[in-house]
C-alpha cells in the first residue's frame, strides 16, 4: 500500500477520490430521500482536506464545519458509519442524531462539526489550550470557510491562540462564497493573510490547483506548530462546484459566471493529482475505494433506525 510510502500524490489521490466519489454517491442517492439531511458538498474542494490531513496522526485533533464530509473522510473517519449517519440509522457515527452537518469520530480525532458559522473555531483553540496544559504532543487543526472570518469569534480566537502560543493550525478554505455572497462584498482591507499576521500568526496563501504545493506548505506549517512555535494560518483558495446546500449545481441563481465554474471543473484538482500517478496504481486505488464506498452504502442500507426511546438519550452526560 502507498499510504506509508514516500508517494504523497498517491495518498492524496486516494483521499480525494474517496471524497469525490462518496459525494457523487450522495448525489445519486439523494432523490431516493433516504438521506433526510441537508448536505453541504465539498466537491471541488477535496484537495484542501486531503493535503492538510495527510500530515496528521489519529491523535491530532480536528475541528471543522457543516461542509465536513471531506474532512471526516480525510482524517480517516469511518466511512460506513458516516453513510449510516446520513441515513439516520443507529450505526451512524452519532446514532442518527447528527446527520451530515455534525459528523464525529473521536477515535481518529474528528471532534465533530458545527453548523453555526465560526462557532467551532474557539472550541478548537480551547482544545489546543488543553493539549498545552496536558503537555501533549498532539496538535489541533481548525478548518473553516472564509465566511467564518467575518465573525468576531474568529478574531477573538486568533488573538487568544497567538497570545498563548497554542499548538494549532488554522486552515481557511476560501471558496469565495458565503452561500451566494461574494467575499469581495464582505471583506475590507488587504486580506486574510495580512489579518492573521496582524495577530502575530505567521500566515500564507496557496492558490487553487496547486494541491502538491498546498501539501508541502501545510506540512511545513504543521511542523512549526509541532515544534511549539505557536499557531500558523493557511488561506487555501478553492472553489465549490455545487450549490451551498443540496446535491445540485446552482447555475440558475446566476450569482457567478458559468465560465468561472466551467474553468474550475475543467482544471480539476483530482485529475491534476491523478495525472501524477501511473495508470495502474491510479486504477488500483479507484477500485479499492469503490469497494469501500459500495460496502459503506450497503452497511447504511442494512442498518436500522433508532427506537423511539432513544430520543431522550444523551441530553446530559453521565
Amino acid at each position: 500500500m502507498e499510504e506509508r510510502t514516500n508517494n504523497p500524490a498517491a495518498r492524496l489521490y486516494r483521499s480525494m477520490y474517496l471524497i469525490r466519489r462518496v459525494e457523487e454517491e450522495i448525489i445519486r442517492l439523494y432523490p431516493t430521500d433516504k438521506i433526510k439531511s441537508p448536505v453541504h458538498l465539498s466537491i471541488g474542494q477535496e484537495a484542501v482536506s486531503a493535503a492538510v490531513c495527510d500530515h496528521l496522526e489519529p491523535t491530532d485533533i480536528l475541528f471543522g464545519t457543516y461542509r465536513g464530509h471531506a474532512l471526516y473522510l480525510a482524517k480517516g473517519g469511518n466511512v460506513p458509519r458516516m453513510m449510516a449517519e446520513l441515513y439516520g440509522k443507529v450505526d451512524g457515527c452519532a446514532r442518527g442524531k447528527a446527520g451530515s452537518m455534525h459528523l464525529v469520530d473521536p477515535s481518529v480525532g474528528m471532534m465533530g462539526t458545527s453548523a453555526v458559522v465560526a462557532t467551532g473555531i474557539s472550541n478548537a483553540v480551547g482544545a489546543a489550550l488543553a493539549l498545552k496544559m496536558q503537555k501533549s504532543k498532539a496538535i489541533v487543526v481548525c478548518f473553516f470557510g472564509e465566511g467564518s472570518t467575518d465573525e468576531g469569534a474568529w478574531h477573538e480566537s486568533m488573538n487568544f491562540a497567538s497570545l498563548k502560543k497554542l499548538p494549532i493550525l488554522f486552515v481557511c478554505e476560501n471558496n469565495f462564497f458565503a452561500i451566494y455572497s461574494h467575499v469581495k462584498d464582505r471583506l475590507a482591507g488587504p486580506g486574510l493573510q495580512a489579518r492573521s499576521e496582524a495577530y502575530g500568526i505567521p500566515a500564507e496563501h496557496v492558490e487553487d490547483h496547486e494541491p502538491m504545493k498546498l501539501h508541502e506548505r501545510a506540512g511545513a506549517a504543521l511542523a512549526a506548530v509541532r515544534r511549539g512555535e505557536g499557531p500558523r494560518f493557511i488561506e487555501c483558495m478553492t472553489y465549490r462546484w455545487r450549490d451551498h446546500v443540496g446535491p445540485t449545481e446552482d447555475r440558475i441563481h446566476k450569482y457567478r459566471p458559468d465560465a468561472e465554474l466551467d474553468a474550475k471543473i475543467e482544471n480539476d484538482n483530482l485529475k491534476i493529482v491523478g495525472s501524477l500517478l501511473p495508470d495502474e496504481l491510479r486504477k488500483l486505488i479507484e477500485a479499492e475505494e469503490e469497494k469501500r464506498i459500495a460496502d459503506a452504502i450497503a452497511f447504511a442500507e442494512a442498518s436500522t433506525f433508532p427506537e423511539d426511546r432513544e430520543i431522550y438519550d444523551h441530553v446530559f452526560a453521565n
Binding site: 455534525h102 464525529v104 465533530g112 462557532t119 467551532g120 488543553a130 496536558q134 488573538n159 441530553v315 453521565n318
Partner: protein, 354 residues
C-alpha cells in the same frame, strides 16, 4: 434537604472560594478563567489567592472576548479539562449565549454521548448602589429553557459551597447564579467537601398557611417577609429551590397541597420567567385535585433604574412580599394590612463600587 445550624461560619464569597480551592487541589484538571479572576479584587474575594497557589496556568485573566472565551472553555472541556468561567456581571453572559446554547448544551446529545462538556459558568447578578440597567440583570430563565444545561442558584453559603462542588464534578455544563447581595452574607459551612444534589429544594422555614418560594437573594427577603407576617398571625413556609434546572417542583407542590396558596418571588422579571415555570409545574401536578391561589412577584417590567429612589420600587422587598402574601391568605376583600419595617442589611450596607 437539611443543613447544619451550628459550626464554623463563612461568608458566601468565602464558601465559593473554599469550594474552588478544594476542587483545584483534588483535581488538576480544574482551572479558573475569566476577566479579573487574578486581579487584586479577586472576583469579590472568590478567586483571591488561587493564582498564587495554583499558578497562572490554572487561574488566568482573559481578553475581553466573551464569545470566544466561552468557546475556548468548551474546547478545553471536550479534551477532558474542567474549566470554571467567571463573569462579574451576568449581563455579559449574553455575549456567550451562542457558545452556551449552540455548543455546550448540544455536544452530548448531538454526538450521542461521544462528547461531554464539564464546565461551570459562574454568573454574578448585580444590584444596588447604582448598578443601573446593564449591571443588574438576571437571566437564569434563559438557561432554564435549554435542554442540556443545569442551572443552580444557591442562596446560603452552605449551598454555595456544595452546589459549586457538584457543578465542578458534573460532566455537564452548569450555570451557577450568584447574587452579588449574597457574597457577604454569613452562614454555617462545614470544612469538609460535600455535594448539593440537583433537583432538591430546601425548605428554609416551615409553615402552614402559605407557600412562598424565593429564588436566590429573594429567598432571604422571603424569610424576612415570613417574620413580618407573624404580626398578622400568618405562618408562611419559605422554600428555596436551590436548583432551578432540574427543578424540584414536587417539594413545592406538596407544600402548596397543604397550604392552598403559592407566592413565587423571583430575582428577575416575571414574563416567561422562573416564576412562571414554577407556577406552571405546580399547577400541572396538583391543579386538578387541589385548587389554590397564586401570585408572582419579581422585578418590575422595566429596565432597572439607577437612582435609588426608583430602584427601591423596582425590587420586591420584605414588605411587598409580606403584603402580597397577606392578600393571598386573607383574600382580596380583607382590610388592607401594612407590613412592618425590616432592614435588608446586605442591600442597605452595600457600597459597591460594584
Amino acid at each position: 434537604m437539611s443543613s447544619p445550624t451550628e459550626g464554623r461560619t463563612l461568608t458566601y464569597g468565602e464558601a465559593v472560594f473554599e469550594a474552588t480551592q478544594a476542587e483545584m487541589r483534588r483535581d488538576p484538571k480544574v482551572f479558573v478563567m475569566g476577566q479579573g479572576v487574578d486581579d487584586a479584587r479577586g472576583m469579590f474575594g472568590t478567586t483571591l489567592g488561587l493564582q498564587k497557589e495554583f499558578g497562572p496556568e490554572r487561574n488566568f485573566d482573559v481578553p475581553l472576548a466573551e464569545d470566544a472565551m466561552t468557546g475556548i472553555g468548551i474546547g478545553a472541556a471536550l479534551m477532558g479539562m474542567r474549566p470554571i468561567q467567571v463573569h462579574q456581571r451576568m449581563d455579559f453572559v449574553l455575549l456567550c449565549m451562542n457558545q452556551i446554547v449552540n455548543m455546550a448544551a448540544k455536544m452530548s446529545y448531538m454526538f450521542s454521548g461521544a462528547h461531554h462538556v464539564p464546565m461551570v459558568i459562574r454568573a454574578i447578578i448585580g444590584r444596588s448602589w447604582g448598578q443601573g440597567a446593564q449591571h443588574s440583570q438576571a437571566f437564569h430563565s434563559y438557561f432554564m429553557h435549554i435542554p442540556g444545561l443545569r442551572v443552580v442558584a444557591p442562596t446560603t453559603p452552605h449551598d454555595a459551597k456544595g452546589c459549586l462542588i457538584t457543578a465542578i464534578r458534573d460532566n455537564n455544563p452548569v450555570i451557577m447564579i450568584e447574587h452579588r447581595m449574597l457574597h457577604n452574607v454569613k452562614g454555617v459551612v462545614p470544612t469538609e467537601s460535600y455535594e448539593i444534589p440537583y433537583g432538591k429544594a430546601r425548605v428554609l422555614s416551615p409553615g402552614k398557611d402559605i407557600t412562598i418560594v424565593g429564588i436566590s437573594h429573594m429567598a432571604l427577603e422571603c424569610v424576612r417577609a415570613k417574620h413580618l407576617l407573624e404580626a398578622a398571625n400568618i405562618d408562611a413556609e419559605v422554600i428555596d429551590p436551590v436548583s432551578l434546572s432540574p427543578l424540584d417542583a414536587e417539594t413545592i407542590a406538596k407544600s402548596v397541597e397543604r397550604t392552598g396558596r403559592l407566592l413565587v418571588v423571583d430575582t428577575g422579571w416575571l414574563s416567561c420567567g422562573a416564576s412562571s415555570e414554577i407556577l406552571s409545574e405546580v399547577f400541572e401536578r396538583i391543579g386538578a385535585r387541589r385548587p389554590f391561589v397564586a401570585k408572582r412577584l419579581g422585578y418590575l417590567p422595566t429596565p432597572c433604574p439607577t437612582t435609588k429612589i426608583l430602584e427601591n420600587l423596582y425590587y420586591p422587598s420584605p414588605q411587598s412580599i409580606a403584603e402580597a402574601a397577606y392578600q393571598l391568605t386573607r383574600g382580596a376583600d380583607a382590610p388592607v394590612w401594612k407590613a412592618g419595617k425590616v432592614d435588608s442589611n446586605e442591600v442597605a450596607e452595600f457600597r459597591g463600587p460594584f
